[in-house]
Symmetry: C2
Subunit: 310 residues, 2 copies
């Protein structure tokens, strides 16, 4: 397509867009404090996204309506409300309107106010929930034999014999490889799926004093009363759900970066988790030529799919 | 209210909810690698949220419809679509449905696909965009004298004379104190506001090779063509908008935690940024008794305001 059609709003010349700046190696500064920590510990780290990409076809818990919709442009997503066609073709820049059927969607951070209105909502969680130690306990082998296997306190004890005590204030992710079928819509209908037992949750919180735990499925356990999530939320603990790519993360020694929008009084968080791991592990590294970002074939909104594709 | 009304869905007893576990001091482990880095550099750090809390009354750019709506329960937010009353009273847990008029809302991360479909969308940004050095350049004094002041290359040179060279790969936030009036709805109507000049953006990207810059207002500059944002987006650079609390962050020496949901083909990001600063600076610290989270008066959905309050 003619890229100059993008320029309805501005007079910026695109001719220089392909002229990349010269490459600069990451500075090996000896700056003190946290900048020095970054140079020595993070400049050559490996980064693994633990969050799914979300779209209207993302699996959701079977009890919720599946009415989530993305729309090209700007405005309310019903027929009566104002709409503004902000598109590449018409305005030189493009935007998206979203209707989310639920805040329990994709890779999440559940604040305890999801089940108990006297505990913090998503916007009330402290800023200290940002960067933590990450431990990954795998039950993938047991789940391969029993799809309804739930992490036990004995599994945690076995992990600690191999790796040491789970640190206070850490995030503990439970790897089950359930996410490997994602985004298969059948996933949301399963009544048997890997879980985390109430006893395991109580051990992690009451004995190890972790920050929160996370799991790959959309529910904490497969009990009819959701007993694990109910206990967490009624006792002031958060949790992560719908976590991805745990098979790429070592059992110990990585950190986790935690991020989510702060919607007022929100009861679920569309979260992005990134594991930060030492050199030599799997994951993306910071490239020498980091910016500008690379080009690809043009993105366009596919009305049938309901989201943009290339 | 009778808290037992929450228990329609589960048989969990709430009686033990007030029994707090014993306090455990943060472990002073001597673990090697990144866990050891966390113990020495982050356990006693200070954390400052740089993101606004978002609600339907959040100021948005004057060209966009103001139809953003939060709704108690689950389902599409128009009259024809299915709705499920997930509320504390009816189901023992509560959820929220959202209709966002635009992805250009609140504290944002703009990927360059916002203006150019050949550059990455929000879900295509690399996982390496997670934790970076943070530099804060203040133009607050100049903005106090001229509300339309824009950061210049000379301002950056003055910052570097005081603090050293801006590191490659860092995030540079421009403090103007514009956000101190937030969420005053008049903010979105201002035609004069603090900006970042095109020359300053080009210096930061082409000479200093930063990761991205950020600013407090909802636009990069007040030129009629939005020349700064147009140049960034057409050349493969991201940016942060609607940033808060920069007055609490030192000019150099902090890190920034970056997080946002990964919506497929998304052209804007509802972002949470957290500055991580050394002990002795302003900001929250990790408390000794970190979990469970504290209780407060009950949260409830205020239909007139359109969001939950306590």
């Amino acid at each position: 397509m003619d890229r100059r059609r993008l320029l309805k709003l501005t007079s910026v010349a695109l001719a220089s867009a392909v002229a990349l700046p010269t490459v600069v190696q990451a500075q090996k500064s000896k700056s003190p404090g946290l900048w020095g920590v970054w140079d020595s510990a993070f400049a050559r780290a490996r980064f693994v996204s633990l969050s799914h990409v979300l779209a209207p076809n993302t699996p959701v818990w079977s009890g919720f309506p599946t009415t989530t919709k993305f729309q090209q442009g700007t405005g309310r997503l019903d027929e009566k409300s104002p709409y503004a066609a902000f598109t590449y073709e018409k305005t030189g820049l493009e935007t998206t309107a979203y209707a989310f059927a639920t805040d329990q969607f994709g890779t999440q951070l559940d604040p305890p106010a999801h089940w108990h209105q006297c505990f913090p909502a998503i916007d009330e969680l402290p800023a200290t929930l940002a960067l933590r130690k990450l431990a990954v306990i795998s039950i993938a082998d047991k789940v391969a034999a029993d799809p309804n296997y739930h992490l036990t306190a004995a599994d945690i004890a076995a992990w600690e014999r191999a790796h040491g005590m789970i640190p206070a204030g850490s995030v503990v992710m439970v790897r089950s490889d359930w996410s490997k079928r994602w985004p298969d819509p059948e996933l949301a209908k399963l009544t048997e799926f890997p879980g985390v037992s109430l006893a395991a949750l109580q051990f992690l919180h009451l004995q190890r004093h972790i920050l929160f735990h996370g799991h790959e499925p959309l529910d904490t356990d497969s009990t009819p009363t959701l007993e694990g999530e109910a206990w967490l939320m009624h006792h002031g603990y958060a949790q992560a759900e719908g976590v991805d790519n745990l098979d790429a993360v070592p059992a110990k020694g990585c950190l986790i970066n935690i991020g989510y929008p702060k919607f007022r009084g929100g009861l679920g968080g569309y979260a992005r988790y990134v594991a930060i791991c030492p050199p030599g592990t799997r994951g993306e590294r910071i490239p020498a030529r980091e910016r500008p970002l690379p080009t690809a074939s043009p993105l366009h909104f596919d009305a049938a799919l309901g989201y943009r594709v290339r």
